[in-house]
């Protein structure tokens, strides 16, 4: 079903204001197809009917279904290239310099919704590549957390399908991935830098123990939280960062109106938040 530009904009604004996720115009066809499924499921005849349903008291429940449809849960290695480039080009050297001055040679990174581990392991590969140079004699700790134990088990196993590994640059693929019967197996050399634990981001008593990170990544999770919970969780992330640390969200997400302490740092192809 095709939706008019006006309906698209209305829905986009609604989703953005509620979830902090922006639908680019290029994603219109995608939203259309997902919306059609939800409209069939709810019996809404027009886009306007569906919009009114979202705004009604029943709306918050329906919104969860819609979000499930529009945020495909798939993740893969080297997903957010502009973010990784910024980290390699500028942010990592900057933090290494700061810590070198303090004589503190340890780097801590947190993938706060690690799913099956692709984001955490991507970081491990990038940092491993710098072991001989920038990070010589540094201790590297990468922590992945997720609420779902099944995906944690997958992450610990470190075996992936072709889709997951398709974006890994050849340099890394050759060194750290071994193919076996259509399965892609991660080298133990990469795995040893990462630990995975179960964690519920809502759980304050556990969140306060996640300390002293230099970089925190939390992609495509905050969009599921209401504004109050989002503010609380983001405040935890803020507190859990080193004074010079960075926080990153997913590619079309926004923290506008959620936290006014972070400073926005723009870089080619994206932005991050600096403490």
């Amino acid at each position: 079903m095709a939706i008019s530009d006006k309906d698209f904009e209305q829905l986009r604004d609604f989703i953005y204001n509620l979830c902090g996720m922006y639908f680019h115009t290029t994603k219109k066809y995608f939203l259309e197809s997902r919306l059609t499924r939800r409209m069939e499921a709810t019996g809404a005849k027009t886009c306007q009917d569906y919009y009114l349903l979202l705004k009604s008291p029943r709306g918050s429940e329906e919104l969860k279904y819609l979000m499930d449809e529009i945020t495909t849960n798939e993740t893969y290695f080297f997903r957010n290239v502009p973010q990784l480039t910024a980290l390699e080009t500028k942010l990592l050297p900057e933090i290494v310099e700061t810590k070198n001055k303090m004589g503190f040679r340890k780097l801590r990174i947190w993938s706060a919704a690690s799913s099956s581990g692709e984001e955490a392991y991507t970081m491990a590969m990038i940092l491993l590549e710098k072991r001989a140079t920038l990070l010589k004699d540094w201790i590297i700790e990468i922590v992945g957390t997720d609420i779902n134990e099944t995906v944690i088990a997958q992450a610990k196993e470190g075996v992936y399908n072709a889709y997951s590994v398709r974006n890994i640059p050849d340099l890394y693929k050759r060194k750290y991935i071994r193919e076996d019967n259509g399965k892609f197996i991660l080298s133990p050399e990469v795995k040893k830098f990462v630990t995975f634990n179960k964690l519920n981001l809502y759980e304050d008593s556990k969140m306060i123990f996640m300390k002293s990170f230099d970089f925190i990544f939390c992609a495509n999770v905050l969009i599921y939280f209401d504004t109050a919970s989002k503010s609380k969780v983001v405040q935890h992330f803020y507190n859990n960062l080193q004074p010079y640390g960075y926080f990153f969200v997913g590619q079309s997400e926004s923290l506008h109106g959620v936290n006014d302490k972070f400073k926005t740092v723009h870089f080619t192809g994206g932005f991050g938040y600096k403490k």
Binding site: Y22, T89, S252, E253, H256, K263, T264, H266, F267
Partner: protein
């Protein structure tokens, strides 16, 4: 370093001139009794310029309710005060339309028109009084780059190679390797072409708006717009890698002083909307450069 820029620009014998008609239009506009008819008659003698004016007027930037197909109507729609600016822009485009330099001309104009468009949006947000001026200032801010690209091709290529994949600003690499910058070179050319002072200032100070004297707000608008376009894919096909902390930018602080409400701007959404507008900018640029259709008087 300004001396070096003057020497370099002075050494080029075949520096493009802006079309005679544009100069005449600009002079004619100084006469307060001039009529739209007279200007239109003069402009129509230059078909390329006329076609480009028509493309610009019907572009998303000006957004007339219905397509304007006659030059006279276009000029009435714009009002006399903006014709000068349009003549200036179209002539800058004409002066530099040979694609033989170190940077690809199309991506140069995409960046320039992108900065023009975003400058106009920021100008509106901060209540700047002349939106078209902001638009034009955005379009012409990087004039000096085309000179460096066309007339100092090899040394400029070295500059581009130096910054590729490194967090070094183009303007800093230029100063180091060429002994001058596109800001200074642009200023020399703009002076040669008798551009109004306010545009000369934007060309000269779009990387350090705090030093501007005549219109620091305009320089800050263009500076900020340039930064946003450079991080959002209107970046000369990935020529330079930059990063900036918005709160630390002079331009941001100048504009927040001008309009405190700006502090509440949803910067993230602003970036995402800018992404959405990029295809419009690319279409506009390709239509301007294929502006060969005949137009009615």
């Amino acid at each position: 370093m300004m001396e070096r820029a003057e020497i370099l620009v002075g050494a080029v014998d075949d520096l493009p001139t802006i079309p005679v008609v544009a100069t005449q239009v600009i002079q004619m506009l100084d006469d307060h009794n001039v009529s739209v008819e007279e200007i239109a008659d003069l402009m129509l003698t230059d078909q390329v310029m006329t076609a480009r004016v028509m493309k610009l007027i019907n572009s998303p930037i000006y957004r007339p309710a219905n397509e304007i197909t006659s030059l006279k109507r276009a000029l009435v729609y714009l009002g006399l005060r903006h014709i000068r600016e349009l003549a200036l822009t179209t002539s800058v485009i004409s002066a530099f339309d040979a694609d033989s330099g170190a940077i690809e001309l199309n991506s140069f104009w995409e960046h320039s028109f992108g900065v023009g468009m975003v400058s106009k949006i920021i100008a509106k947000k901060v209540g700047y009084e002349d939106l078209e001026k902001a638009y034009i200032a955005g379009i012409i801010h990087d004039l000096g780059e085309v000179f460096l690209s066309n007339y100092m091709r090899e040394p400029f290529q070295e500059v581009l190679d130096r910054i590729k994949n490194h967090p070094i600003r183009l303007v800093d690499a230029e100063a180091e390797l060429l002994g001058t910058t596109h800001c200074e070179i642009g200023l020399c050319i703009a002076r040669k072409w008798n551009f109004p002072d306010v545009y000369c200032e934007v060309i000269s100070f779009h990387h350090n708006p705090a030093e501007a004297q005549i219109d620091p707000v305009l320089c800050a608008i263009v500076n900020l717009s340039d930064l946003f376009c450079t991080v959002r894919e209107l970046n000369y096909s990935g020529r330079q890698w930059i990063s900036f902390n918005l709160g630390e930018e002079d331009a941001w602080n100048i504009l927040k002083n001008e309009s405190p409400a700006l502090a509440k701007l949803d910067v993230e959404r602003f970036c995402y909307e800018l992404d959405d507008a990029i295809p419009d900018v690319k279409d506009l640029v390709s239509s301007i450069f294929n502006a060969s259709e005949q137009v009615k008087s």
